[in-house]
């Protein structure tokens, strides 16, 4: 039987999202009740691209469910360097583990890998593609703060290459959310994401300027603009400065605005914002544990049922 995987937020329904968020809330309320839930289960961490936090977050989540993890290690130290295909790697790893978490630099990697394995596979980021587990914790945070309906959400920064942005945009189409995308012209949402939003009938606006839309936002989701996207340093500085949030910028915001960020940030949110009521990003990062516990719990439980 083919297992269910978490590959793209585009495949998530409102029901499936709410099931994970509700379970995360239950875990948050009583973590001790879940401590032995998956004792003996093994999660494989296959990170073909470094990501300390996401990896630690999955590692912690699995251990708090009573399970253990096996780690492929860095690409430099693994057989990948010797030219093994991703398809072979996951087929081997499948023999070690009850579920696989995959981070890979190529778009579509998780989708492909999932076709070769019968254990659940979670996409923890595929190139500039998708990062759906991040989206679940983003949604959990938004729901805790503001609920998930009748909202205006601004998403700002590098929308072109930002996989967390692509996943979040897809997932938000399940809810009554007005999505505002704020970015320099050169870093607009890619065509395929705009296509999906259009198909889903989402309420979408694109802006180059935060000012115009900031006063109506319930949530402002900030992402990093990467220096390497720009051919010259000056051009980068000119753009990055325009999309930086500080206390002064936020004067125009609603009092209950939540400023979110998938972290790590560089200088797109000034440290002075940390002490304000707006700052939601550390809470958001902490939510990664209960949400990933809920996600893994669901996948492992269904896999067990399926194999019986």
């Amino acid at each position: 039987m083919r297992q269910d995987h978490l590959i793209s937020a585009a495949n998530l329904s409102r029901e499936s999202i709410e099931a994970v968020l509700d379970r995360a809330a239950a875990i948050d309320a009583d973590p001790a009740a879940y401590r032995q839930r998956h004792a003996g289960a093994v999660l494989a961490l296959c990170f073909f691209e470094p990501s300390t936090r996401t990896k630690m977050s999955f590692d912690t989540a699995m251990k708090r469910l009573g399970g253990t993890t096996v780690d492929m290690g860095t690409v430099e130290s693994s057989s990948v360097k010797k030219g093994e295909t991703l398809a072979d790697t996951v087929r081997v790893v499948e023999g070690y583990a009850d579920a696989i978490v995959l981070r890979h630099p190529s778009e579509g990697a998780a989708k492909m890998a999932s076709e070769f394995v019968d254990v659940p596979l979670v996409n923890a980021g595929d190139g500039a593609g998708q990062h759906p587990s991040q989206t679940l914790l983003d949604l959990y945070t938004i729901r805790e703060r503001a609920g998930l309906d009748d909202l205006s959400v601004g998403i700002m920064g590098d929308l072109k290459y930002g996989r967390t942005v692509h996943s979040l945009a897809h997932a938000l189409t399940n809810f009554d959310v007005r999505q505002h995308f704020i970015s320099p012209e050169s870093l607009r949402l890619p065509r395929n994401v705009r296509f999906d939003l259009h198909e889903a009938g989402a309420h979408v606006r694109e802006h180059t300027d935060l000012e115009a839309v900031l006063p109506e936002l319930d949530v402002l989701y900030v992402t990093r603009i990467q220096r390497e996207r720009f051919p010259d340093e000056n051009e980068y500085r000119a753009v990055a400065g325009q999309y930086r949030i500080d206390e002064e910028t936020l004067e125009a915001a609603r009092d209950d605005l939540s400023v979110m960020h998938p972290l790590p940030r560089v200088d797109e949110i000034a440290p002075e914002v940390d002490e304000t009521e707006y700052a939601t990003y550390f809470e958001q990062a902490h939510n990664g544990i209960p949400v990933r516990m809920a996600l893994l719990d669901g996948l492992l439980a269904r896999a067990k049922e399926g194999s019986r």
Binding site: T85, L86, A87, E107, G108, M112, G127, F195
Partner: protein, 154 residues
């Protein structure tokens, strides 16, 4: 023999692919993997006047009957094409191409960072969307000039 006669000369047995989008005849052959190496007679008419299309290409392949699944993929580059199966100079079957739901192993993904362009043991796969095709792996959409992404030699 005049040009006109060459274009319309009848074949005895085989397939005539008519109403091909002008300029796409060579891509049609590439899609079908026909290069004449198996000894089959192939004739092509390009930019032939057409009532329906203004200009069209026509491809005739002798001694080979194309299956519906072989030709459905032609719809991507020649949506108006019609397929005529010829036996003993007569058209015994006439059909239009159908748009397939997916196209596997035929196009390469224009997204250079797509996993299908890595050295993995998978064929490319595209789903057919309203006005183009979409990579089933990375989600990239190809609308214009699909033929430029053909994963076969023309």
């Amino acid at each position: 023999m005049s040009d006109h006669e060459l274009r319309v000369s009848k074949i005895r047995n085989g397939t005539v692919i008519d109403h091909v989008t002008a300029g796409q005849a060579l891509n049609v052959l590439a899609i079908l993997g026909i290069d004449g190496s198996e000894g089959e007679g192939v004739s092509i008419g390009m930019n032939v006047p057409s009532d329906r299309l203004g200009r069209k290409d026509v491809v005739k392949v002798e001694d080979r009957e194309l299956s519906q699944s072989e030709v459905e993929v032609l719809s991507l580059i020649a949506p108006e094409a019609s397929i005529n199966i010829i036996r003993d100079y007569d058209v015994v079957e006439k059909s239009r191409v159908d748009r397939p739901e997916t196209v596997t192993g035929l196009l390469s993904c224009p997204n250079r960072n797509c996993i299908t362009n890595d050295d993995e043991p998978i064929a490319s796969k595209f789903t057919v969307v309203a006005d183009g095709v979409r990579c089933a792996y990375c989600g990239e959409i190809v609308r214009d000039d699909i033929a430029a992404h053909l994963d076969v030699q023309t």
